[in-house]
Symmetry: C2
Subunit: 454 residues, 2 copies
């Protein structure tokens, strides 16, 4: 095994650096600030869990994509495929936590499956989750949608559609269509592919469940009822008319409750979509997906989530349901969406590049003084020529260079040059911050993070 | 397998929540700000690498602790045990990156070994790394020590000792002691345990290398020369006198260079310790460890690092050395250190808990308006009684509650009560921020993050 052969990274993963890594930090920071503004507190659970824990929920589809491993003690472990099961495991371990419990978690999850970089899908991706445990009413969902609204606004993403549905309603529709209970979980997983593979393929796959368990009429009815068109109210009315089961009616009641909160908040971008399925088996009520309106930029959901009222109770083993609902922002997709509306992105965090001319040792000290003014300052440590150091700073997109020769050292000043237009002045080392504050905005626009406000 | 049996988390890992999770964010944010202030840019590499990549460096000791796994395509993978090898792999893949290249990385690393929670050692821990690639001179080390100094100061950690040594100098000492080249790597690994197991045990282990390869005199000489006492200058002078090899002399020259930068910066907390070894095999020059002066709080290094001039060249396969040096802040240990000097820690991010009295729907809207003032606001979504909601807010350590009854809705105000002393006022919803700003500081001190300034 030679070194050069070993260069490659693992299949399906990605290094984030430069502009993109800076953007990831920006999006993460923004989401965190919004999460905290809604009173969610941080939790970090480990990416490795016992295999048993991760086998309890999620369904067969996702179980195929779990990375499994063992430790030296032959214990069977797995890498988490979401942060929801770990939340349930964590919460079940901490009966002392007060209810309701609201937490956020920003971390990596792992799926050993196909990747789709143009849709931000990798084998390792970062989920930014907010969950509320202990609130039964639709006010929890309403809060989460308001939070998502604020997050999108702060990220400069105005043009989104929020789709909502409800597992109980979907269950009721399946009852009406004549789908037996035994086929429901599989039917939901297939329905979840509607956007991806289209109606005809979904019908084909549905008719293959259990080796042809479902009559063609049931398949057609399921597609027909979930494809109902019109306003939210018209869809509600249609389903209200056909719904036969109590479960289904309860589901519609929940949707009605959530939509009424949305009306109160003037959220006209919330669309009730009876075909919204979500592939995971643990949802019990509301399901939510958020899409860019410009589907050509990104066709997959940026945010997804829903209500999972049984999982935590099951983990606690108490037999009682513990209501829970959450949303997950996909970091990679959110970044793609933000990138699509940004007019310029920052290439570097550095604002000022100091070039010492035979003054390295004292320049290190002066750089230290300037950094105390909370400016991001890099310094040439190689002793190269002024010209070559300037070229380096420019190639990195650093807006200002600061030259410190022996003359500057004597006068305790720094000669600051703006690379975009050559504007040059000698500035006292203690006054660098105010100088940059004044002269920054006319600098290179490409070196700054600029968002179109929605 | 029942649910209740499945509750446990994996061996040797930890959930971070409440006060500790808030502290982790605070420390991470502070380190990130300092890293960026020094012109380091973020990079995120995946926690999964190809097994071959992680097998190339690090040494046999660490290789025993690597978590290994395969994907569905039977590819052999591993979880990274540090962020330095991934950096080398990443940098080698990107010949377009300008030199010098400075990056920081904050992420999880994995070691399937013994844990020691009281020393902040877990199987998953978070490293906060800064590395400079492409700078040969000791100015790079000087910058890293200045950065560490600033980071500690911002974290309120004044009382630290920085130990430095140099692999070339240590190599020279081993030459003087008569340790053959074939035994040097193993000798360094054993010497690294000096703090942990003491001189006698180290001697015993050294004498066991290669089934008793080393004569007792060599073992004694190694211990004697590395244990030299006195000031940095006295230690330097002693080693200068005994050193015979060119490599050893070059090592001392590098230490002298670094110490001279430290003198220039008035860093009197930097101690040259010839016994400092560092267990990893990839170091080629300077090695660095930072300890709390109060070793009873934490005996292990909070920060560690050094120079690895061969690794990146080896990865690039060019046969030329690419100089590189870095530092790694252990997040868990840094948090332990910060905790030991904090007079109070924040239990929650929430500042204000809104209690709607039969006004939930409109209160959600008012909460939204208040949040636009960038205040962290939670709201009761359960409809419980005022008394029970107040008790809940108090138990979470939230300093203020805000009551919104029908009267408040009419007047567009909120009745804000400070829980520490009952101070209560009706405040316009648009004026909540300025009210809290004025009345915050006299609130519960335990609910705020207060640092002793060094």
């Amino acid at each position: 095994m030679s070194y050069t052969e070993a260069l490659k990274s693992a299949k399906g993963v990605k290094d984030w650096y430069g502009r993109q890594a800076i953007l990831r930090n920006h999006v993460r920071d923004t989401l965190r600030a919004v999460f905290e503004r809604y009173g969610y507190n941080p939790v970090e659970t480990p990416v490795i869990e016992r295999e048993e824990v991760l086998s309890l929920k999620g369904g067969g589809e996702i179980q195929k994509e779990v990375f499994r491993l063992t430790d030296q003690g032959k214990r069977r472990l797995a890498l988490r495929f979401d942060q929801t099961l770990p939340l349930a495991r964590f919460y079940a371990n901490h009966p002392e936590l007060k209810s309701p419990y609201k937490r956020y978690a920003i971390g990596d999850v792992f799926r050993d499956g196909p990747t789709q970089p143009e849709q931000g899908r990798y084998r390792i991706f970062t989920q930014c989750d907010v969950d509320i445990i202990g609130v039964e009413g639709m006010a929890a969902e309403a809060e989460l949608l308001t939070l998502a609204y604020d997050a999108f606004r702060e990220l400069g993403l105005g043009d989104v559609t929020v789709k909502i549905n409800n597992r109980k309603a979907l269950d009721g529709i399946m009852d009406v269509a004549g789908i037996p209970d035994s086929a429901k979980v599989e039917a939901i997983i297939i329905l979840d592919k509607l956007e991806k593979i289209g109606t005809d393929e979904v019908k084909k796959e549905l008719s293959r469940i259990g080796g042809g368990l479902l009559p063609g009429s049931a398949v057609d009815a399921l597609i027909e009822h979930t494809a109902v068109q019109g306003t939210n109210r018209e869809r509600m009315d249609y389903l209200q008319r056909i719904m036969t089961s109590d479960t289904g009616r309860r589901g519609l009641e929940e949707i009605r409750g959530l939509l009424s909160y949305c009306d109160e908040m003037d959220f006209d971008f919330v669309e009730f979509d009876p075909s919204l399925a979500r592939g995971l088996d643990y949802y019990t009520g509301t399901t939510i997906e958020v899409f860019l309106k410009k589907r050509d930029i990104l066709n997959s959901a940026i945010v997804a989530g829903g209500r999972f009222d049984n999982m935590i109770g099951d983990f606690r083993g108490a037999g009682t349901a513990v209501p829970a609902v959450g949303l997950s922002f996909g970091l990679e997709r959110t970044c793609m969406a933000v990138e699509s509306v940004m007019s310029g992105t920052k290439e570097t965090v550095t604002e000022l590049f100091i070039i010492p001319l035979n003054t390295l040792s004292v320049s290190l000290k002066l750089a230290h003084i300037i950094r105390q003014q909370k400016i991001n300052v890099d310094i040439d440590l190689t002793g190269r020529s002024l010209k070559s150091a300037m070229r380096y700073a420019d190639s990195l997109g650093i807006p200002f260079v600061g030259i410190i020769g022996e003359d500057e050292v004597k006068k305790e000043v720094i000669t600051i040059k703006r690379l975009s237009d050559g504007l040059q002045n000698q500035i006292a080392v203690t006054g660098v911050k105010s100088y940059l504050d004044i002269n920054r905005d006319s600098g290179k626009s490409m070196s700054r993070l600029v968002l179109h406000k929605p």
